[in-house]
Subunit: 356 residues, 2 copies
């Protein structure tokens, strides 16, 4: 578990830059990162000169007992929460500059905060930059989430055969993850069989897996809020030859990208390598998404591995590499693993065999 002194250190690192005088943390991920609070909303953090102040509803108060804060105000259910948050924020802020998570704060929330302080600045980028560099505790939670999802997949895999529905496979897999200690799936599990696999984001349906079909399974667990995210593609019987060739090309592409990655490198280079690698097989036109993304408290977070990304690979990044090929009317292939950059080296965190 992350300790109080680690949470305190995160708060200090965010607030010490001098860009703002007090900040409001309103996003679930922000609350979790700076305090460990994992409730369903109903809580805000005000980070100011007096430290970290949690303002929380009576309902969510029990969930905040084990969270990190230097002061806490529990608001009775007969009172609306936000006016109480604004009082605390206003007293911390004075006529200073307010830090807001600009990627999270809605126009409607902003309207209610207007008039506080003399101006505001965005802090989402500062937070996402901090969060993209994992510490050992975070890494251990991500490893654990990966372990849970891999063990669950090993169980669910035995169940994949003709006549079983996509929904049944997803249900087994999610059950095994939960039994293994996953909090929630890190996103809705994808199980796409046969022609449906040509849609990268096909949610499972009541469709039965047929003879000689490809099955794409994209899944992830969460542990202490941290996500894993993996994809495996299985052949049931003997699907069309084009899909076997595509499988080889996608796997070769993932391995090529992995071995090319260097700490300090612009991640758009890896994304571009993936396109070139699939081009050799005439498959680049069927590769319609990016190469990967960071994983952490969100299943999609910084750094991003796409052609248009400005991110650079840094020590402490945890991320996916997930090339894929989607052939309309035929099916699709995706292979996704989780990786780590640490002390100058890139390594693979996940360990399920790619060919099943």
């Amino acid at each position: 578990m992350t300790t109080s002194s680690q949470y305190r250190d995160r708060v200090r690192r965010l607030t010490s830059g001098g860009r703002f005088d007090a900040a409001l943390i309103a996003s679930p991920q922000g609350l979790r990162y700076f305090s460990g609070f994992s409730g369903f909303g109903g809580a805000y953090l005000v980070l100011g000169p007096s430290g970290s102040n949690m303002v929380v509803t009576e309902l969510e108060a029990p969930d905040s007992d084990s969270a990190f804060f230097e002061d806490r105000l529990v608001v009775e259910k007969s009172k609306p929460l936000l006016p109480e948050v604004i009082k605390v924020l206003s007293s911390e802020l004075g006529q200073g500059i307010l830090g807001l998570e600009e990627e999270f704060v809605s126009l409607s929330l902003f309207e209610k905060l207007k008039g506080l302080g003399r101006d505001w600045v965005g802090i989402s980028r500062d937070i996402s930059a901090m969060r993209s560099v994992k510490d050992e505790q975070e890494l251990s939670d991500i490893r654990h989430a990966i372990e849970i999802s891999e063990q669950a997949f090993e169980q669910a895999k035995e169940f994949i055969r003709p006549g079983v529905t996509e929904n049944q496979v997803a249900a087994r897999l999610e059950m095994a993850m939960k039994e293994g200690g996953s909090e929630v799936p890190s996103f809705p599990t994808i199980v796409a069989s046969g022609v449906r696999a040509s849609n990268p984001h096909a949610l499972p349906t009541g469709k039965k897996i047929g003879e000689n079909e490809v099955v794409v399974v994209d899944f992830g667990a969460t542990y202490h809020g941290y996500a894993s995210d993996m994809t495996r593609t299985l052949f049931v019987g003997n699907p069309p030859k084009e899909l076997h060739l595509a499988f080889d090309a996608v796997l070769e592409t993932q391995l090529a990208c992995f071995s090319s990655l260097r700490v300090g490198q612009p991640l758009s280079e890896a994304a571009s390598l993936a396109v070139r690698s699939l081009e050799k097989y005439g498959l680049a036109k069927y590769y319609i998404h990016s190469l990967g993304h960071g994983i952490g408290l969100e299943v999609h977070e910084s750094p991003y591995l796409s052609l248009t990304s400005n991110d650079v690979l840094s020590d402490g990044n945890t991320f996916t590499l997930e090339p894929g090929v989607y052939i309309p009317g035929l099916g699709g292939i995706r292979i996704e693993d989780d990786f780590l950059a640490w002390e100058g080296k890139v390594s693979k965190l996940s360990s399920l065999p790619s060919r099943l």
Copy 2:
């Protein structure tokens, strides 16, 4: 399934008020409500003089094939999506007034939209007012979601006994919902046993259910995106007498609120009745959340049944009534069912027995 003409009608109803000249729909619920699109993001709707224009990434394009739109632009993965959205929006809007979902649009997105049109207005309230009044198709989807969750609960209930962990119960229940056709749980299933039940939002853990413990299970399914939300409290063996008394008080409270509700009534009145009903038993101090909330494309939506709500019960509303009592150090009780106001009458949609 909702038909094209129903989606078109929703678009017309939103845009016909004359408050704005073109609107951007960016929220997942908004996209679903106005087009049926159910992808993972990567899509926007521009509603303007030329009708409903979908702008979607290549990746999400297959998910939009069956959605309603009058025109569609598919953006290649080498291009960022938002600049293309802004082009379409700008051409629809001219120097008119822009409608934005103020509860959803972030400061960061707003920054990118600045300069479009001559001003903007919020449309979240208009949309949530429309969405709070369900049509027959929506009602049928909600009924289906309730049916799935009730059948799943009947299966999972058999599994609740001493020695089984909370995680295992949640896993079984979620598996049964998925096998029954639920898309995703409508929220992370709550299973809280023994003293843990005194926290209304306790997520399941590896804790084993003990002899003579109370078990609170709060769960929901989704069907065509529409949520159910129910809670049952079970007694394993013979928990402390106070919890039996609390159970009776909570059930009486739920029934009293149900029978008091009238179309046209301020919902704060029902919330206040719940407090008075629990006060008779000296339990109001342990009742720390609101009475209920609307259900639909979101599991918490308008109307809200709380002491501070300004909502009035209207024909077409689907909502929960979920009084609860949480006694620190002892446990908790919650009973939650789903209800409907239709043609002037309030009826119960869920049908699981309250006492199990």
